[in-house]
Point group: C3
Chain length 352, copies 3
């Protein structure tokens, strides 16, 4: 049984993964999809299944606005209707499903559910992606676990003390209580640490911001979960006593950890991770250096999540604990389940 | 459920795969078989299962006319009866199944079905294999797909335009209609293209035959499917207007593409491919060069067939199209199914 | 269905596999276990499952007497009770199962069954491990087969003639009858060969013992199976006519082949193999040389056992033969089954 919402926008790829000639085959929410760019460079997405003999269309190539099957030359339109095939009349060929797709903010977004409900105004607004004062760097990981384990992971940053001990972790994280609230349809888990020493990652951040690295700081982490499964985390440090989160820009280093968590199948996921920052936005070397550092840190989560998943599969009947630090993940899962229930046609009325 | 005929000869190996000392273990039509050469160099085949403790006999060695199990020294005869075992009386040991096997034309043929029906006059006659004016080169591929996908592939050469664009493919193939007929128990799909330029593979063929490579030619492809699953394809080009398929020998280059398609299991297959030609038969370097070229071309089919199979597994309920170009494969599958039905004892009469 | 005894001591690891800092995760008899050394270097073993979110505890680290989960810092005690977790009250956390564990003779022994029945006086006494006149060398192999195939293998050394032809095998082994008896709760299979030439492995043994290598010897093999699945084999050669097994020490070379056979899951196993000898016990180079030789010999069994298992899976309905040479394995399996039956609560009384 699947545990994800279908009527929602998911990040399926980054813009630069889909070039102008070669289609990309990728599974999102159990749907095999062929992505390509048409003659106007617009992204198109259809089921990755040629109606002729079932070959994956993503093994073919693009011609004009169509995807050409690499087996026998069937030309598929972006609407899922066959346009042509050598020496064939194609009017009555069966259609395949076009998948609503939008390119925005450097990401490719797809809507796995009801096509008519796909409203692109529902794509979250990423202000940092539009503002030239911000820079962004990120990457993709493929992880063999239920995507909800990643939501739990990101909504409880206590794990940084243990999993990321040498970079962003520090003892004060798991000694400081968190607060979980609902704000405007988001689950928000926040933690504020005062008068502590900055860990190595933030020493670099302060240094890049021309601030001292050996002085006490105030540190914050504000995790915001949105449906269907995005987590944006405001993180930063300010020189101690300067106002913390609200300190003036020249007294702090801060950024937004960007996490788009996309189910591939029921037990596997795509992880689009990145960091958006509003200091030294033009410094490409700094962007690359942060990206490399973050890539290494987030790779530390991969093994623990995959091994956790294997363990849960072995012990399917055990109840996990739901502590205060887990409240963010628990609330996020509840939001998902409530929304999933609304998506399903009611089947509970009537006799068995 | 298996979809292959059992009472028929299949190619199981090439002669040179089975040397004089080491047995070969290979699964054909879901039967695990140990092949070996006896003291007269004659090929023998028995189930690959030692009746003592179940070890594969193919891990052992040959002694005289017997196969010696490499675990405890049981000696198995080619008739499936244990000949001896150190310090044991073997008269009452259970038998294993001997598998009817014939070596002919450089191939090892086996009959997976009813032993008493195994008549070696039913092995197809390969005239080119007996005639010194012909040369042959070929190879083996292992492919993770239902063997019938390969029949479809070979009975519809339209795919050459797309899959083999740089060697034997050309646009005129998929612009020229095919004709599918039944002739003497064979399914025959033929295509004749007139006054076209020869593709790279045939430029080489013309050149090897001392003919010009930049002149228009007439090209033909005649695919012949035989039970249980062999496809022989007459292919060639003649200088345009010289009679095409019927042109005199010095005006054409032609050959026979040889395809023995053998199920390993329900979802995997062995592909014995090769080419027989009747020009420059003594030129071993040419044979090797054609073999290398053909090997590369046929390797291009592997990925598409395996990915097609994966896609069909994901979408098990979708009907595939049966176009005119697919008629050869469709007819071949029907012949297989009709023959399979006759093989099964009728079970439809009587009450449930 | 599992086919092993649960209330018994199994070898789970060697002492040197578990160092002082890093836990070891290993599955024994279908139980995922985290092993570690506490502050007194004593071995502890608990289920490899953190009660917080299910991460494997073996990915964490040791702190004092506890195992710290590498995900969120929960501290697990050796009794399966959570000791602490940052900012949490842990009194009511669910427990995990502690696994009875003992370190003895250089091995780690675990008891997968009823904890209260775990009596360490039931660990077999290994006299050679306590006596400085003996030396030991060994290793571990992981094998994808039912552990009982290894018992069969070791209780019938006829296979040496075939599987180990170049080292310890010789024709006289399978020409000499074996005798299988029950002695003090052990299954004992013995074979005595008189006046034969020593095979290469024993030529080395004689040579190490300053005895001639080209003279006839008397050779013996006495295999002793003990529950749950240990096989100790007394092996050796004596100069012919000097008393064989009972010859004086300066006329023979002998040793004990040590085999602890431990199920990992129903279809996989850990094989702890080694050799204990009572000559030149101080010669570490000889120990290393014998260990290397034995490692190569025992690796020859791996392929045949894994392929035998695959074959048995393919032919699940075939009965295997039970010859005189198989009597040791047959008796050992019967002892296991009788003991397993006693372990299960009787369910046969009463109506369905």
């Amino acid at each position: 049984m699947s545990h994800f919402i279908r009527n929602a926008w998911y990040v399926a790829a980054t813009s630069d993964e889909i070039n102008t000639s070669q289609p990309l085959g990728r599974t999102i929410c159990n749907i095999q999809i062929a992505f390509y760019r048409d003659s106007k460079q617009q992204i198109q997405a259809v089921e990755d299944f040629c109606p002729h003999r079932g070959a994956p269309l993503s093994l073919g190539y693009v011609e004009g606005d169509n995807l050409v099957c690499g087996y026998h030359g069937l030309q598929m339109g972006a609407d899922g209707k066959t346009r042509s095939m050598p020496s064939q009349r194609v009017e009555n060929f069966p259609c395949i499903k076009p998948v609503p797709v939008v390119e925005r903010y450097g990401f490719i977004w797809i809507w796995p559910g009801d096509k008519d409900a796909a409203d692109d105004s529902l794509i979250p607004v990423l202000e940092w992606a539009l503002d030239p004062k911000w820079a962004y760097g990120g990457g993709i990981y493929y992880i063999k676990c239920d995507y909800r384990l990643m939501i739990d992971n990101l909504m409880d940053l206590t794990h940084e003390t243990y999993v990321h001990a040498s970079s962003i972790g520090q003892k004060e994280i798991d000694e400081t209580p968190v607060k979980t609230t609902m704000e405007n349809g988001q689950v928000v888990t926040s933690r504020f640490m005062e008068n502590i020493l900055p860990p190595p990652f933030w020493q670099n951040g302060l240094s890049a911001n021309d601030l001292p690295t050996d002085q006490p700081v105030d540190r914050w982490q504000i995790c915001r979960f949105d449906l269907p499964s995005h987590v944006m985390i405001e993180v930063g440090v300010a020189m101690a006593g300067k106002g913390g989160y609200h300190a003036p820009a020249d007294q702090k280093a801060s950024s937004i950890v960007v996490d788009f968590i996309t189910p591939e199948t029921d037990g596997t996921m795509w992880y689009f991770w990145g960091m958006a920052r509003n200091f030294k936005a033009d410094d490409n070397a700094l962007t690359a250096s942060i990206q490399e550092g973050q890539g290494k840190i987030f790779a530390e989560d991969l093994e623990i999540l995959e091994r956790q998943q294997q363990n849960l599969n072995r012990f399917p009947d055990r109840q996990l604990l739901k502590l205060d630090i887990d409240a963010g993940g628990v609330q996020a899962r509840r939001m998902i389940e409530r929304t999933m229930k609304k998506e399903q046609p009611s089947t509970a009325n009537g006799a068995a």
